[in-house]
Point group: C2
Chain length 320, copies 2
């Protein structure tokens, strides 16, 4: 199977009717027609074997996740997905592996109305690079730098299960059982695109980020970009059943510095609280207010008695 | 140096004033504002160490080439560059290497008015994935499938020098001397964006592709997509001085199946010939008519007496 046959067999499909795709896979460029008056939102994520996934990863889950982490960036901006490119380096053309990868990729692409429009295929150490395109009305994108003092701080879903799943997969000294549901939290994250788009359309919603490197580390990006601080009430953090049996230090590490959560962390003016809950309900996504933005810099983690709990933020850094 | 410091130091620069960039590096997504009424052209190319470049490649040249091969795809569509993302996997954070890479990358980005808008940085086997965005008016993109019988067949610049440089670098049994100019044809290709945009604005110009995998192999993409054939008059192919001393078989291999040329191969109606020459002159790019499109399928290579010259097309295929 040659390069062009590989592309034709696994990655070339007609773009969905009614999509923004004017011209899909197969020419020098893809052509997209964004809606009039919209801005284009673009994000790119590269997944490397041994770094972002294990060599024996289920290829169907990998196809899902490679697109999911990119869709999550569109969600964090409140942009509607339009399409994506996939550039892939493969050590060899393994047909069963490619078929499974494509299955996972296209299932999420179809569910997200985000068609594959082009890309590149080459031989090399396994590497998937997806670039995703979305659209958003001018002035509505949810930027990191838009948080304001007294905003409520909100989290979609809950954090920490992906980290616990990873530790259990690694076979370390963590209590718990790796069932399918927990493993799916690591390998098949759900990007929060419906919520992101609903929030971008909600007056009073200010800043957002997707939690990919840990809640505290990603919140720090919002705080620095906005020139503000925050308080998190630890007892308000939603805790998954799988995390409840963990010793406190491990539970906090999962909740606050887990990574791979792909939940949305966002801020909204106090008076927008009912509208935030309405956006959450309309998008079928649970949302919890976990704290607030403060005028003074720095992050405080508070227990039920509002005493500060020490915690060293450690987001994931590929070169630290 | 951590991941975020690496990005800040080498890849974060304010977007140029007057560009389409609303928001550049540093948020979940970049934001672009394309011109009203335009379509978006998108292409993605991945460069892998050992496959697309030697491990000891000059990083400044690599930075140039990684962007050049992507800009070349925009040129082949006739789209105006708007910006690009860079996702990069690095075995380590080598500061001198990164500084040189960034120098080559940004020099071409500045010269092409195509700013870096975002991307990703991770650790892994060296891999550069660039996705480039351009804009083009609806109906004006130069597609592969638009060639018509009796169109003239045109080539910008000349092919073959990159292949000769590669063979000399490999130290094989090829005659010739690898001087700086010849090496630059391999390592610092010039994307033909001004020509591509001028051609897209020229009535009667039909199909185009950029020659990256060899003239015959890439022409074959046009012929199949358009359902036509072609004749190339070999004596009309421009031959670089460095190629003139080669034995005929090697010269033809360079000219017809060289790879890494990044010239434009395009077709235009016979009556558009003066306008094609005018577009070439206006963009400061040499263009040669090298043959014509035929209604009957297949490619014929003809000598001066119009006798067919046998040649087996061998475009580059990563999985052949």
């Amino acid at each position: 199977m040659g390069e062009f046959e590989l592309i034709r067999r696994y990655f070339q499909r007609p773009p969905p009717v009614g999509s923004a795709v004017v011209l899909g896979v197969g020419d020098d460029c893809a052509l997209l027609q964004p809606s009039p008056g919209h801005q284009l939102a673009i994000s790119s994520d590269m997944l490397v074997e041994g770094r972002h996934f294990f060599p024996d990863v289920d290829p169907e889950a990998l196809g899902h996740k490679a697109l999911a982490v990119n869709l999550s960036d569109l969600a964090a901006m409140g942009a509607r997905p339009l399409g994506f490119t996939l550039a892939i380096a493969l050590p060899q053309a393994d047909e069963a592996w490619l078929a499974a990868l494509a299955r996972g990729l296209f299932a999420l692409a179809d569910a997200s109305a985000c068609p594959l429009v082009g890309g590149d295929t080459t031989r090399g150490p396994l590497n998937l690079c997806i670039t995703v395109f979305g659209e958003v009305l001018p002035g509505r994108a949810l930027r990191r730098g838009a948080a304001r003092a007294d905003d409520g701080l909100y989290l979609s879903g809950r954090t920490g299960e992906a980290r616990l799943a990873l530790e259990l997969l690694r076979g370390g000294d963590w209590p718990g059982r790796l069932d399918a549901a927990l493993r799916a939290r690591l390998e098949r994250p759900t990007p929060r695109n419906a919520l992101g788009q609903a929030l971008a359309a909600t007056a009073g919603v200010h800043a957002a980020i997707d939690v990919s490197d840990g809640l505290v580390g990603d919140l720090d990006h919002i705080l620095r970009a906005s020139g503000v601080g925050a308080e998190i009430l630890l007892e308000d953090l939603p805790v998954a059943p799988a995390l409840q049996a963990l010793p406190e230090a491990q539970r906090l590490a999962c909740l606050l510095a887990g990574g791979d959560d792909y939940e949305l962390l966002f801020t909204a003016a106090p008076e927008a609280h009912p509208a935030v809950l309405a956006a959450a309900a309309a998008s079928g996504t649970s949302v919890t207010r976990i704290g607030r933005i403060t005028a003074s810099a720095g992050l405080k983690l508070l227990d039920a008695a509002r005493r500060e709990v020490p915690f060293t933020p450690q987001g994931f850094d590929h070169f630290a």
